[in-house]
């Protein structure tokens, strides 16, 4: 197994814009040779949100093949951070080196000499020639800025949605740094890879109960990148419980490691549902169903009241929508963009949003860690809001988000879903047209 195999889909995504003459090996090498330093003091690592921001960022960087350096104190993990193992943040992160993508190391060297630095919260840092960003945020909002001074607030939030947002924003900047090192076919495309001086994203706050949050029975269709990103996020929500089934007939492949947030190198060849069920542990209890979802099969019987769909195959999304009487959330990616939506029985369904099969769907899909992660995170937030009876309003039924330039006012667009007379699911709203 080589990094070239593992980063195959990331390289494919780069090919949207890099010159054709560049070999896969050259693109791969460009990612692997990048050195990124992550810095935090004790205060910023003493909260679950701060720890989650750092762990998520290091994971997203490693899954792009980059070399990560750490300048952090030793501090105990406040909550488990699967798939990482260990008792302390630093120990766990160093141990994750080369386990997410071959050759992607994580270390604590004093002579690291980074090209990029990511700083948590209000951590003080010395002067450096490297470009640096600061990750800040609250429970639901994450931000990134090039501010050198530590005027920001320390990480202190209990809920880690904002921290995962900030990590995804940071990983995007690291990706664009690489793209700026590569020759592009069309110079007009440079605009997509310009650095963001500051950007943020807010999923919107939700009133939270004091006690535990039971997400109830949830079925998950696909154990691939988006479902894994979603469950990665859900398992980091404090005091949350969930039960259900996860359907997928696929085995973990080397080319999945660039984005499957719960998978490690040694999982290659193992059933994806087994990997997820093992990683979720007792907090999220999943019965792994190592079969492709077919609505009328014996194994399915009846779908749970809430279903998460992370499958790329569009007809499979329709199949789920046809066989559920409850709520369905669907997330997917298309090159650098994500599409995330939720569908209650009285709303236009996923067939209205994705009306016809995508012929390119069967081909290898170009993806990168942070884009798939955004898709999963958005779905996790939708699930939580649905359970807490605070779903997004109908004009936010669909989120189209391209994380490349989150400093731009229309990087993300909330949209309603228009019912279609030719809805392939023949959902209730389409029949009323």
């Amino acid at each position: 197994m080589t990094a070239l195999e593992e980063l195959n889909r990331t390289i494919l995504l780069c090919r949207d814009y890099v010159v054709d003459a560049l070999s896969d090996e050259e693109i791969c090498q460009c990612f692997q040779s990048r050195k990124v330093l992550c810095v935090s003091d004790l205060r910023n690592l003493s909260s679950h949100s701060g720890q989650t921001a750092l762990v998520t960022l290091v994971s997203l960087l490693s899954r792009m093949g980059m070399q990560v350096g750490l300048s952090i104190p030793e501090v105990a993990l406040l909550s488990p951070q699967p798939p990482l193992l260990g008792q302390s943040v630093r120990e766990s992160l160093i141990a994750s080196g080369e386990t997410l993508v071959t050759g992607a190391t994580v270390r604590c060297d004093s002579d690291f000499n980074p090209e990029m630095i990511f700083v948590l919260g209000n951590t003080e840092i010395g002067s450096s020639h490297a470009v640096s960003w600061r990750l800040c945020g609250t429970d639901w909002q994450g931000a990134l800025s090039m501010e050198k001074t530590a005027g920001s607030q320390p990480w202190a939030a209990e809920w880690p949605v904002g921290s995962m947002v900030s990590a995804a924003l940071a990983a995007n900047e690291a990706f664009k740094f690489v793209m700026r090192c590569l020759p592009l076919r069309d110079q007009a495309a440079r605009v997509f890879f310009e650095p963001s001086r500051s950007c943020d994203w807010n999923f919107g706050s939700v009133p939270l109960p004091k006690g535990s949050v039971d997400l109830g029975q949830v079925d998950v269709i696909s154990a691939g990148a988006i479902s894994q990103a979603s469950l990665y996020a859900v398992m980091r929500f404090p005091r949350v419980q969930m039960r259900g089934r996860i359907f997928d007939d696929d085995l973990t492949a080397a080319s999945n490691l660039n984005r499957n947030m719960l998978s490690v190198v040694t999982d290659v060849g193992t059933s994806k549902v087994q990997v997820v069920a093992r990683c979720c542990g007792t907090k999220l209890q999943f019965d792994p169903v190592p079969k492709r979802f077919f609505g009328n099969s014996f194994e399915v019987r009846e779908l749970a009241p809430r279903v998460l769909v992370g499958v790329d195959d569009i007809p499979s999304r329709w199949e789920v929508q046809r066989h559920t009487l409850g709520w369905v959330a669907v997330s997917g990616t298309s090159h650098f963009s994500i599409s995330s939506s939720a569908h209650s029985p009285n709303e236009p369904c996923c067939g209205c949003l994705h009306p016809v099969d995508d012929p390119a769907g069967a081909n290898p899909i170009p993806t990168v860690s942070f884009v798939s992660f955004w898709a999963g995170l958005a779905m996790a937030v939708r699930l939580l809001r649905e359970v807490l009876a605070s779903p997004y309003s109908p004009d936010r039924q669909h989120l189209w988000l391209t994380p490349l330039r989150m400093d731009q006012p229309r990087a993300a667009m909330w949209l309603p879903v228009a019912p279609r007379h030719d809805c392939p699911v023949h959902c209730m709203t389409s029949r009323l047209l």
């Binding site: 949207d16 007009a188 298309s334 189209w400 949209l415 809805c423």
Partner: protein, 234 residues
């Protein structure tokens, strides 16, 4: 004095999170606007899959003018992939067709022989509003369409500007596509739809138990999850 009224206006196109302003004229075709947008962003990867979407989530129809499409000055349009373009769209099926088809297949096959019909419609539309029952030889295991009838049928379709949208035939028991079904569809173009009805069509007049497949660009048949992925009743 002649007053020239400037009718051009700008719309905002969003792609990959970046916004660009493009000038349009009311008479301009939406297709031309789409091409301008694709060129402005330098998109070379699968540009044919892209469409423009309004902020209410609806797609901007391409085969009409900017004015007819209702685009307004300053309107924000999202440029994003639309799978509709790449794959076969849904065929609109007149309600009586399924019932009539089953009647013909039963009457001809008498519960003991295979039979076939072809669903037809206007060549320029995704509408099925007619069907043809070919002259054919029949047996419990196959059917063979008469060559002369077929020649005459093609001439008739050309003259009336109609086309075959779907082929439908029966099997003795299980519905599936045999190797000869794969090899010899009446139309060999990508997106052509084939439906196989089980039990010589003596069951309920419904497509629920039918095998439904769509011909791919690589010449292979793709089995669809249900008839609803190929046709919608109108």
């Amino acid at each position: 004095m002649t007053i020239i009224v400037e009718r051009k206006f700008a719309v905002e196109i969003v792609y990959n999170g970046v916004t660009k302003s493009l000038q349009v004229e009311p008479e301009e075709q939406v297709t031309a606007l789409l091409q301008k947008a694709i060129a402005a962003f330098g998109i070379t990867q699968q540009p044919h899959l892209l469409s423009l979407f309004r902020q209410d989530g609806s797609i901007v129809t391409e085969n009409e003018s900017v004015e007819l499409a209702g685009l307004k000055p300053g309107e924000i349009l999202l440029l994003r992939p639309n799978a509709v373009k790449g794959g076969g769209g849904l065929l609109r099926l007149a309600r009586n067709i399924v019932q009539t088809t089953f009647g013909t297949l039963r009457e001809c096959g008498r519960g003991e022989c295979e039979c076939a019909v072809y669903w037809t419609g206007p060549a320029s539309e995704d509408l099925i509003d007619g069907f043809e029952h070919p002259i054919h030889k029949r047996s419990p295991f196959c059917y063979e369409v008469d060559d002369d009838w077929l020649t005459e049928f093609w001439k008739r379709l050309a003259a009336s500007k109609r086309s075959v949208k779907v082929q439908v035939h029966t099997h003795p028991s299980e519905a599936f596509h045999s190797s000869s079904d794969d090899m010899w569809p009446i139309v060999s173009q990508a997106d052509f739809v084939s439906i196989v009805i089980p039990d010589f069509a003596i069951g309920e007049p419904s497509l629920d138990r039918a095998w439904v497949g769509r011909l791919q660009v690589d010449g292979k048949w793709r089995c669809l999850g249900s008839a609803g992925e190929a046709v919608v009743l109108t």
